[in-house]
């Protein structure tokens, strides 16, 4: 196995408040190989998004955050990097896509201006004209034909799906090694979501970008990811290749998660067993064989 691009080992996170430290992550380990698409699945508040924030190096500078364990990006420990070094990584080697594309773009600037800012991260001296040329090329890759109109528009003049594509194009513009996708397109309707995800999958395959895909949508994860980690209350409870995990979910929480998906073909929202005691069962790892019955 080659060296992983992102290697998180035994990551813990707590927030110090008035009443003491609130533990959020209790020792998470996950790794992503270059070019691999990995999903992190879990319910709200399970610790998905804070994991992404730590990878981006954005919680390290928060004074109330207590972080333990190691996060290595491309062989370098994030904790040992300076604030500026972590900032250097963001936008060039690591980038991110968010839930709501429209609010992720500043309403007072045209798309073109914002694209220019993004491209300046990689090439600080890039002129507006060059940036627009490059932006048009990337927009073309996300199936936006009339790039010129889009670049001259304000975010509120474009549809949600259009904005999402712009966001994807921006996130991939500097050819990052790692893309963090935090529930991309959750704010969009399902058809647009599928379209943009297809686009995104094509692009990351083409550019050999590794993706950490954070989601609570199992259907999307199944389509998108090579490998899946299931997270529950700050612990990884099950891990395995997508097919293995979906064909044979072994952890009680993973099963409950799959049960909870509403069926289109009648039955409506399924009843969920309220007994959550079994969810704290130890990790099931399909690859290492840990937790096998």
């Amino acid at each position: 196995m080659s060296r992983p691009l992102l290697d998180i080992r035994n990551l813990t996170l707590g927030f110090k408040g008035w009443t003491g430290v609130t533990e959020v992550l209790h020792g998470i380990s996950l790794n992503i190989q270059p070019g691999e698409r990995v999903a992190l699945v879990g319910e709200s508040g399970s610790g998905k998004s804070v994991t992404a924030r730590i990878v981006l190096g954005m919680l390290q500078s928060l004074r109330s955050a207590r972080i333990g364990g190691t996060v290595e990006f491309d062989g370098r420990n994030l904790a040992q990097m300076s604030r500026t070094e972590r900032q250097q990584l963001r936008g060039t080697r690591i980038s991110m896509i968010f839930q709501d594309p429209t609010s992720s773009l500043n309403p007072v600037y045209r798309i073109g201006t914002q694209f220019h800012e993004v491209l300046k991260r990689e090439a600080p001296g890039v002129s507006y004209r060059e940036a627009m040329k490059r932006a048009a090329e990337i927009l073309h890759e996300v199936s936006i034909g009339d790039a010129e109109r889009v670049l001259n528009s304000y975010p509120f003049q474009l549809s949600g799906g259009m904005n999402q594509r712009v966001m994807i194009a921006m996130a991939l513009a500097n050819e990052p090694d790692l893309l963090l996708a935090d529930e991309p397109g959750t704010a969009l309707d399902v058809t647009v979501q599928t379209q943009t995800l297809d686009l995104m999958r094509g692009l990351v395959e083409q550019h050999n970008t590794a993706v950490l895909f954070i989601s609570h949508n199992l259907g999307v994860v199944r389509e998108f990811a090579d490998r899946v980690y299931v997270i529950y209350k700050g612990r990884i409870v099950e891990h395995g290749p997508t097919t293995a995990l979906f064909d044979d979910p072994r952890h009680p929480y993973t099963r409950a998660l799959m049960m909870a998906v509403p069926r289109l073909t009648g039955g409506g929202v399924p009843d969920i067993d309220d007994d959550a005691s079994a969810f704290s069962a130890p990790l099931v790892d399909h690859l290492s064989g840990e937790g096998r019955p």
Binding site: M58, G91, M96, S103, S104, L105, N106, M167
Partner: protein
């Protein structure tokens, strides 16, 4: 632009505001050409025509030393506008920057900056300005200083509140995620989103600054004679009411026109810029 015009037309009050403000600004700019007696802005005495009721050529009468009130009002507009613009030009950048920094960084930075702001806000504005003027010489420059000191905290409060909410917007996070520095986020991302509210408040405030400055000079603490100032003209004439009513009424009306005009424009701007959304 089309929308701007249609809003102006749809609301006759905003149109009135534009007309009033244009009148004030133009008469201040071209006072030298409009005023029938430009020399009356200074220390001129003409006892042959003192304390005259409005009659040609003194359309607003003359004051106690025979100076044309209409001419003096035109020059007083000039002083008022300079004062308003200078005060805002100093107070707004200071107030906005403090508000942005406090709102963006939060924590101790916010605590210290906002408590300092609260101290300034807790002193009644006129009392604060009066005590500053009491310590310093009563000149136009010190008058501006006094009004500026009492004015910036309001911008800090306004911008602080906007920053607090904009800070949570996705685009701020998105900018941070691609590695934008705090300076970039504050001034390039958040500040432009504060502009509509700040511009609206500035227009409204131009009227209020003129009002406060007039109050100061009414109390004898602002611009000193013989420089014409609306507040001191009202104060001087007040002793001779109601007989010599023109001494007070016309400068008073002038204050009203200026303040009212800027208020109406401020309201119109709020509609046009959508600052209250």
């Amino acid at each position: 632009m089309k929308r701007t015009i249609s809003i102006l037309i749809a609301n006759p009050l905003s149109l009135l505001g534009v007309v009033l403000v244009a009148t004030v600004v133009l008469s201040a700019l071209f006072a030298d050409f409009i005023a029938p007696f430009p020399e009356h802005r200074g220390a001129v005495v003409d006892f042959a025509n003192f304390n005259k009721a409005p009659e040609w050529p003194y359309i607003m009468g003359t004051d106690l030393v025979g100076r044309d009130i209409f001419s003096r009002i035109l020059y007083a507009f000039r002083i008022s506008l300079i004062l308003g613009v200078v005060v805002l030009a100093i107070a707004v950048p200071i107030g906005v920057t403090v508000g942005l920094v406090a709102g963006y960084f939060g924590g101790w930075t916010e605590y210290i900056l906002m408590r300092i702001t609260d101290i300034f806000l807790s002193i009644p504005p006129l009392v604060l300005a009066m005590s500053i003027m009491g310590v310093l010489e009563p000149t136009l420059a010190n008058g501006m200083l006094a009004v500026t000191v009492m004015w910036w905290p309001w911008y800090t409060r306004l911008v602080y509140n906007i920053t607090r909410s904009e800070r949570e917007e996705g685009y701020v996070l998105a900018a941070e995620v691609i590695g934008a520095s705090p300076l970039h986020v504050i001034f390039r991302e958040i500040l432009p989103n504060c502009v509509p509210a700040v511009v609206t408040k500035m227009t409204l405030d131009l009227g209020f600054v003129i009002l406060i400055a007039s109050s100061l000079s009414f109390l004898g603490l602002g611009v000193q004679p013989p420089t014409p100032d609306l507040g001191s003209m009202v104060a001087d004439g007040a002793k001779y009411l109601p007989d010599s009513w023109w001494l007070t009424v016309f400068p008073g009306l002038a204050i009203l026109v200026a303040v009212f005009g800027f208020n109406l424009i401020g309201d119109a701007l709020r509609d046009i810029l959508g600052a209250d959304q």
